[in-house]
Assembly symmetry: C2
Amino acid sequence: MTTTEDRTHVGAGIDAVTAVARRLLPEAGVITDRTRLRTYECDGLAHYRVTPALVVIPEDDAQVAAIVRACAEHGVPYVARGSGTGLSGGALPHAEGVLVVTSRMRAIREVRREDQRAVVEPGVINLDVTKAATPQGYYYAPDPSSQQICSIGGNVAENSGGAHCLKYGFTTNHVTGADFITPDGDMVALGGAAPDAPGYDLLGAVVGSEGTLGIVTATTVRLVRLPEEVRTILVGFESTDQAGAATSAIISAGIVPAAIEMMDALAIEAAEAAVHCNYPDGAGAVLVIELDGARVEVEEEYAEVARLCEDNGSFEQRLATDAVDRALIWKGRKSAFAAVGRISPDYIVQDGVIPRTALPEVLRAIAELSSSSGVRVANVFHAGDGNLHPLVLFDDAVEGAGEAAEQVSGAILDLCIEHGGSITGEHGVGMDKAKYMPRMYTDEDLDTMQLVRCAFDPGNISNPGKIFPTPRLCGEVPGRHKAAHPLQQAGLAEVF
Amino acid sequence: MTTTEDRTHVGAGIDAVTAVARRLLPEAGVITDRTRLRTYECDGLAHYRVTPALVVIPEDDAQVAAIVRACAEHGVPYVARGSGTGLSGGALPHAEGVLVVTSRMRAIREVRREDQRAVVEPGVINLDVTKAATPQGYYYAPDPSSQQICSIGGNVAENSGGAHCLKYGFTTNHVTGADFITPDGDMVALGGAAPDAPGYDLLGAVVGSEGTLGIVTATTVRLVRLPEEVRTILVGFESTDQAGAATSAIISAGIVPAAIEMMDALAIEAAEAAVHCNYPDGAGAVLVIELDGARVEVEEEYAEVARLCEDNGSFEQRLATDAVDRALIWKGRKSAFAAVGRISPDYIVQDGVIPRTALPEVLRAIAELSSSSGVRVANVFHAGDGNLHPLVLFDDAVEGAGEAAEQVSGAILDLCIEHGGSITGEHGVGMDKAKYMPRMYTDEDLDTMQLVRCAFDPGNISNPGKIFPTPRLCGEVPGRHKAAHPLQQAGLAEVF
């Protein structure tokens, strides 16, 4: 009975939001048909699937604000979705909620050469920002492997990284302002064009908050000047140990390449089979190293990088001779995730971070995990900043194989935490890793985060169920002063 | 009667906190003597003076946590203070509260060359971080003019900048982790060694929150490698217009110097009188430009900078020949604030930001303000990132002069806002600029910030009265969903 009543209630809320959407949006922007709703049931992490109750495709900020306001009024949850390429289930719909799809908000509103900024809408494709800025001599630096299809809105929600974040930083380092719709439908301005703004840096808190604080409808991003010179080098090693040592040697020498990417033998095999990238035969590991900057500087750094790789045992080095050659080297790396499909029917893309200095040790531990469990693991990663992407291979047709893979995948995160790293480098927590949060954070840490969420979203309607392991109503989060401190309870408050 | 009762109540709270402090801290760490309390009555902005009810000087995190916990229990406000060099009254004490002075927490706990990090306590002097890192080939980049005396805790609270922030970014770009005492005395870990952490970026929100969210007791900072080559050039121009045009030309050419500082004729006169820095005779403006990086790159950039300055009318260029010469050039710039005392009995240090492209226009408008009001204004500033520091000169012995100076100073902030800038670049809002916040932010913006403050500090005890123009009790901040939206009240919700 309760279930039915609840459904009716939810149904009424959804009906009300649908009515608002129908009044404001073009017909094609309101989807209620079950079959069409199902096409939105997952993002890039197809492991979780939920059909939303309603999909809306707004065309401007005012429409987004009106939809959110209607959701707030009727207590209906909503989830924002860009291109749906996320790998942590951050854009997984809510069964009783609205999915706000930003694919029709694709205007690049401004490209301002004089202060190196662009203002873009959330549905704009990452690579399109660079395309718009290139004629003026600039580009947008954060470059997820999915940059040809992923959207800036999703990048902002997940604080996305990419190969070139080693030198240039993550999305959060490139976002200087945003128009932001709070969970009650107010539009507020965060940050701005000036290098610093007074008051709290809420822009920083919003970037990477995975849609749980509200929806960003316009983002001001920093543009970076195209470098005078780029050199891309493919370096073959016998082992990941050698490649890891070379990486450490380069960074310790004070050189910060635009990118240092590593792939192990299994990843190379997959990429070779898929895109024929012509990586060195018999390599136990390759590094893709890219240097950029002033020509004179790149030349000097190149000589040193070449020497350091040789000192650490490289058996082959290939400098890209032209743009086509460079693109081929990168193609091997950027298609590695998908390429793994050539050598395994199923796989899990893991995402974790370790201090760069722990690379050799953690890679050895992953190899041991793999050999003791019989689960194959291919390693593709941003070596320069210690951001691992182990690909855990399995065949779902084999009984128990999925579980075994999940177990190895989780154990890799444990390794990351043990070595002082993190459970995600750039893919986010989303649905998938909420359960791992208590391994990184104490209850006090998580409560502090939840208090911030409640400040923005006391009704828990903005992408509920993501990030936090135990979703609670805001009244349940121990507020400051509301609960006695554990030490006070134990009568120890006065001695500490 | 009410007043007396309130005082008694406050007195009891202070007595309880004093008792906790006496039990935990060494005798010298608890100050209750009126005369000694008065020595803490202001920070670098001596315009505001308040004697605190109690000063404590804790020696470790646990003591800070215990003091804060006692404050929370008894509803006593507290203010953290580092070296007290702040220029916005951010560390102004509370008359009925505790001043937590961090000057005995001065340990540099770690300098880790291998991952370019240092872990420092809040009382550590800014320049001492660099001194500790230099033997290993590194330094700490953010460099306020007060770096010889200001503390890292204060830098974190105010998100301090400095001359070299043009290339290297503000404090927030160099803090990767913190131990943080919440206003109920819990210690939580923010950020960490990994480049990104899951969950909300509360570290970013805490940096620059001016002590209103809690107290940072240990900070992990990024170290930057000492550059191979540094070149410092002093360039004389006839006018600030020319110097501004040269600045724009350099940045537009894609060169990002470590610093581009500008001083106008009046500032040069003051610096010359105070420190004999040997700046070019008869200059209407000078630029101090510093280039750093790989030798080959610096050489190439130097040639281009020299040419661009000449193209824009420089009449003299002097390249520092050695470290002593470089130090002298910088001495003129870094002592400019204090030096102004040589040419004026009193002055206001203003701090505002404008887009760099608006420099010539705003400088001309400031000159007009000055000539129409008869109030002299010396301009010293970080030209590269448009961060102005107009010094508004007056003689307090002349009736009405202080008010006239205040008026000009405020009008300069209006100019900054009109040109899309900000009311503070690096000195913070503190006590001094809270009244200007509504000129930059809407009520919704400020309420969103206050909701975050209330999440951390519902009792309003952590540095109360700073940043926000109209301090409110947390119950008074319109919570999301609690108040009807203005458009709903007007019956317009459905059309927007």
